[in-house]
C-alpha cells in the first residue's frame, strides 16, 4: 500500500533508469539503456510510438531483429539471443523489455 504523497516522493527519487535484468555486455547495455530512456521520455504519452522508435534505433545500432515491449503491467516469457536481453525500469513508472531474436 502506497500512500499518494509517498508515491510522489518515490517518483521524485526514482528518476533514473534501473536495470532489472540484463545479459548484455556493459557498453551495449549502456547504449541500449540510453536509447530506451530517450525514446520513452520523448513519447511519454504514446508507448507504441516509443517502442517503435526503440526497436528501430536498436536495429540500426546493433543490427538484427529487435523486439521491444514497453508498459507498466505485463508478464513475459521470451527466447532471445544471448547477450541481447534487457529489462529496464525507467522513471519508476514504465518497464521496457527489449531483446533480439
Amino acid at each position: 500500500m502506497v500512500i499518494g504523497s509517498d508515491l510522489e516522493a518515490f517518483y521524485k527519487t526514482a528518476k533514473y533508469p534501473l536495470v532489472n535484468e540484463c545479459d548484455m555486455l556493459p557498453e551495449m547495455r549502456e547504449e541500449a539503456v540510453d536509447i530506451c530512456v530517450t525514446a520513452i521520455e520523448k513519447h511519454q504519452a504514446d508507448l507504441e510510438k516509443a517502442t517503435q522508435v526503440i526497436k528501430e534505433a536498436l536495429d540500426k545500432k546493433f543490427g538484427g531483429p529487435w523486439n521491444c515491449v514497453a508498459g507498466n503491467y505485463f508478464s513475459f516469457e521470451v527466447t532471445h539471443e544471448c547477450k541481447t536481453f534487457l529489462h529496464v525500469y525507467i522513471g519508476g513508472r514504465i518497464g521496457v523489455l527489449t531483446w533480439k531474436l
Binding site: V2, F10, T13, A14, L18, N20, E21, D23, G71, N72, Y73, F74, S75, F76, E77, V78, T79, H80, E81, C82, F85, H87, Y89, G92, R93, I94, G95, L97, W99, L101
Partner: protein
C-alpha cells in the same frame, strides 16, 4: 464423285490389280486394248492430231475400268491411209506365245532319255509400270492427307475461307517441327551445367529464455531495493575509508590468506595433492595395472620351472623377469643392491659411480616387485651412493654411504627429501668414499643405541651411533700396512693406510667382522678389540670387491676380487680353500640364503655365474649373459623367493629366477643344516688336497 476422284480410284485399282497380276486378266486387258484402239480410230481420225485421247468408258459397269492414257504416236509409226485403216484385219488372239519354243526337249536323268518338256511359259510382258495412285479411303491416303494438312498450316492466312474451318478443327498431329534457325555451331557447344543448390547449416547463435513480469509494484519494489543497496554501499564506502584511515587493522586477515596461498603453492609444487585415502586408491590401481601389464612375468615368477633341469642335472638357467629402472638412476652404476629384510618384495638400489673420475649426484630408489615401473621411494643425493644397508630389525632404517664420505640414515617410509641423520663435514664424515656400511647387530637394545659401522676408502672403520639428532662418530680402527705404520706416525697421515672396500659381520658371532681392502687382503676384526686384527687372509691379487660370510655355514666366507677370482675361505685357514676363476673382474658375489654350497657371482663381462660346490667345485652350473654390453656391478639373493637381483653399470636392475637345479639344497645324511655339513666335507677335502702345497711353500 468427281472426275479426279474417279481417276484416282481407277489408278488405284489398276495398281492393286497389277500387284496381283492374274494371268487371265492381263490377257483380257491386252485384248481390250487392242479392240478399243481399233474401234476408236475412226472417231479420232477426223480430228487428226498426233495425239489420241481416250475418254473413260462411263457405261461400263464391270470391274475393269480402263485407265486414262495419252497415246503419243511415235515418229516411226506407219502412216496409214484411210483405206489401209478401213481394212479389216482379222486378228486372232491366242493364249499361246507364238515365239515360244514348242519343242523343248530336256534330258531326263531318271529315264535316261531326252523328253519333250511341255511346260513353256507363254506370258509376254509388253509393258509394265509401277502405279502411284492410291485409294482415297485407304490408310496410306489418310496419312498422306494428314501430312498435307500439317504442312499447309504454317501459313493459314494465305488460304482465305479455310481458316475458320481449320481453327475449329483440333490439331491432328501434335509433333512440333524444329525451328531451323535456332541452332548453334558444334564448336560453340560447351557444356552448360545445370545450376545446383548448395548450402551449409551454421550453428545458430546461442539463445536463452527469460521470463518475468513487470508491474507498478514490481517497479516500485525494485527501485526501493536499489535505493537501499545504494545506501548500504555508501555506508560501506564510508566504513572502509574510516578503516583505511585507522591503518593496518585488516593486516592479520591478509596474512592468513597469504599463508593459505603459500600452502597451496607448496602443494602444487609437490605435485597432485590428494587425500590419503585417494592416494591409497591410486596406489592400488597402479599396482593392478602393473599386474595386468606384467601378467606373464608374474606367472613365470610364480610357476615357471625350466623343464630342461630334470634332464640336465648339472646345468641350470636363469630366467629374466622384471627390469627395474628409474629416471634418476639412468646411466649411473648400480652401486648397491639390497632386499628389505622384512618385505620379501621390496628392494633398494643405490645409484652412483664406481669411477672416481666421473662423479655426479646419486639416488636411492626402493622398488617393489608389484610395481616394477616406478619406485616406491626415491631420494636423490648430491653425491653418488656407494653402499647401503637395511637395518635387520628396524626395516625402515636404511644406512647409506656416499662417495664424498658422508653417511646418511634414511627412513624409507617417509618420502621426504631429507635423511633422518646425516654425517656432514662438521659431523666428521669420512675423507673418501664410503665403501660399505653395516648395521651392527646385537647392539640395538633401543633406538638410542642404534649403531652401524662404515668402512671407507680412506682406511677408517668408523662406528656411528644414532643420537637424538646427529650421528656420533667413533673411529674404530684404521686399516694400515703393519710394516709401514711406524713411519706413518711422523710422516704423511695417509702413508701406509689402506682403503677398505667391503665389510661383513659374522652371522652368529656378532662381534666378528671381515673387511676387504684395496691391497687384496681380508682382515678379520672384532668389536671388542680395536688394537689389532684377529686374522689376515691373503691370497687375492687384486682389490677385494665383496666379502660375505656364508649364510648357513658359520665359519666359511667368500670374497670376490678384481683378479678375476672368487675365493672360498675358512675361518681357521689363512689361505683360500677353493678358488673359482671367472675369467673377468668380479663385481660382486653372494651366498645363496637357502644352501651353504650355492653362490653366485656377477662378472664385468655381463655374466652371472651360479656355482653349486656340492655338484661342481670348478665349473659353474649356470653362466648366463644378462646384459649385452654393460658390466654387472651388484648381486643380491632374495631370502624368500628363488630370485636374484643383479645391477649393471647402466642403471638397470635385472631380476632373475633361478631354475630348480640352482636351488637344490645339498643334504648330508638327512640333516637339516642347509648343506653346511656338505660344505664342511668339501672344505675338508679341499684342505687335505692343498696341505702338501702349503707345506712345500712353508
Amino acid at each position: 464423285m468427281n472426275l479426279v476422284q474417279t481417276l484416282k480410284r481407277v489408278k488405284e485399282k489398276e495398281n492393286n490389280e497389277s500387284l496381283r497380276r492374274p494371268r487371265a486378266l492381263s490377257r483380257h486387258v491386252s485384248t481390250l486394248k487392242k479392240r478399243g484402239a481399233t474401234s476408236r480410230n475412226g472417231n479420232t481420225a477426223s480430228t487428226g492430231p498426233q495425239t489420241i485421247e481416250l475418254k473413260t468408258n462411263k457405261d461400263s459397269n464391270d470391274d475393269f475400268i480402263l485407265p486414262v492414257r495419252e497415246l503419243v504416236r511415235p515418229p516411226n509409226q506407219l502412216h496409214l491411209s484411210q483405206a489401209d485403216l478401213a481394212e479389216d484385219i482379222a486378228c486372232l488372239l491366242t493364249a499361246s506365245n507364238p515365239a515360244a519354243p514348242s519343242n523343248v526337249a530336256r534330258y531326263n536323268l531318271r529315264e535316261r532319255a531326252y523328253k519333250l518338256d511341255s511346260s513353256v511359259d507363254h506370258i509376254i510382258h509388253h509393258y509394265s509400270s509401277q502405279g502411284w495412285l492410291m485409294h482415297v479411303d485407304s490408310e496410306q491416303a489418310q496419312r498422306q492427307s494428314a501430312n498435307e494438312q500439317v504442312q499447309a498450316q504454317p501459313e493459314p492466312e494465305t488460304r482465305e475461307g479455310a481458316t475458320e474451318v481449320e481453327a475449329a478443327l483440333p490439331n491432328p498431329d501434335p509433333t512440333q517441327l524444329r525451328n531451323q534457325f535456332n541452332y548453334s555451331d558444334r564448336a560453340a557447344q560447351t557444356p552448360v551445367y545445370p545450376p545446383r543448390e548448395r548450402g551449409t547449416m551454421t550453428e545458430p547463435p546461442p539463445r536463452a529464455d527469460a521470463s518475468g513480469h513487470c508491474s507498478d509494484w514490481a517497479i516500485h519494489d525494485a527501485y526501493v531495493a536499489d535505493l537501499e543497496r545504494q545506501r548500504c554501499a555508501k555506508e560501506q564506502a564510508e566504513a572502509k575509508s574510516s578503516a583505511a584511515s585507522k591503518g593496518a587493522a585488516s593486516s592479520t586477515a591478509d596474512d592468513e590468506g597469504q599463508a593459505a596461498l603459500d600452502r597451496l603453492a607448496q602443494d602444487v609444487d609437490n605435485g597432485l595433492h590428494v587425500s590419503p585415502a585417494t592416494e591409497r586408491a591410486i596406489h592400488i590401481i597402479e599396482r593392478m595395472t602393473e599386474q595386468n601389464l606384467h601378467r606373464d612375468v608374474i606367472m613365470d615368477f610364480k610357476y615357471w620351472d625350466d623343464p630342461a633341469d630334470a634332464i640336465r642335472v648339472h646345468e641350470g638357467t636363469l630366467l629374466p623377469l622384471w627390469k627395474f629402472e628409474t629416471e634418476a638412476g639412468r646411466g649411473r652404476h648400480v652401486t648397491a643392491l639390497a632386499w628389505s629384510p622384512r618385505y620379501a618384495d621390496l628392494l633398494v638400489a643405490g645409484y652412483g659411480s664406481f669411477d672416481a673420475a666421473v662423479q655426479g649426484s646419486g639416488a636411492v630408489a626402493c622398488f617393489t616387485l608389484k610395481n616394477p615401473s616406478a619406485p616406491e621411494f626415491l631420494m636423490t643425493t648430491r653425491s653418488g651412493v656407494m653402499c647401503l644397508h637395511f637395518h635387520p630389525h628396524h626395516s625402515n632404517l636404511l644406512a647409506v654411504g656416499l662417495h664424498d664420505g658422508c653417511v646418511l640414515v634414511l627412513d624409507v617410509r617417509q618420502p621426504s627429501a631429507r635423511p633422518l641423520y646425516e654425517a656432514t663435514a662438521a659431523g666428521g664424515k669420512h675423507m673418501d668414499a664410503v665403501a660399505a656400511v653395516r648395521w651392527a647387530a646385537g647392539e640395538d637394545s633401543g633406538l638410542r643405541s642404534l649403531a652401524f659401522y662404515s668402512v671407507s676408502a680412506d682406511g677408517h672403520i668408523a662406528h656411528w651411533t644414532l643420537a637424538t639428532s646427529t650421528l656420533v662418530r667413533q673411529d674404530f680402527k684404521r686399516l694400515h700396512d703393519g710394516v709401514q705404520s711406524d713411519n706413518a706416525v711422523e710422516g704423511d697421515a695417509c702413508e701406509g693406510y689402506i682403503g677398505g672396500t667391503c665389510l661383513d659381520f659374522h652371522k652368529d658371532q656378532e662381534h666378528l667382522f671381515l673387511v676387504g681392502s684395496e691391497d687384496a687382503r681380508l682382515y678379520k676384526c672384532s668389536k671388542t678389540s680395536n688394537s689389532q686384527f684377529r686374522a689376515t687372509y691373503e691370497g687375492h691379487a687384486g682389490a677385494v670387491y665383496a666379502v660375505h660370510w656364508n649364510t648357513c655355514h658359520p665359519d666359511s666366507f667368500l670374497s670376490a676380487s678384481a683378479d678375476w677370482t672368487v675365493k672360498l675361505w675358512h675361518n681357521n685357514c689363512s689361505q683360500a680353500v677353493i678358488t673359482l676363476d671367472l675369467g673377468c673382474p668380479v663385481g660382486d658375489a653372494a651366498w645363496a640364503p637357502y644352501s651353504a654350497t650355492v653362490l653366485a657371482a656377477a662378472g664385468e663381462d655381463g655374466r652371472v655365474q651360479v656355482f653349486d660346490l656340492a655338484h661342481n667345485k670348478v665349473e659353474p652350473l649356470s653362466a648366463q649373459k644378462i646384459v649385452g654390453k654393460a658390466a654387472l656391478t651388484r648381486l643380491a639373493f632374495n631370502a624368500h623367493h628363488p630370485i636374484l637381483l643383479v645391477g649393471d653399470d647402466k642403471g638397470c636392475i635385472h631380476c632373475l629366477k633361478l631354475s630348480p637345479n640352482l636351488r637344490r639344497i645339498a643334504t648330508n645324511a638327512g640333516s637339516h643344516d642347509f648343506g653346511a655339513a656338505r660344505l664342511d666335507a668339501i672344505i675338508d677335502v679341499a684342505l687335505k688336497s692343498s696341505v702338501p702345497d702349503t707345506d712345500e711353500g712353508a
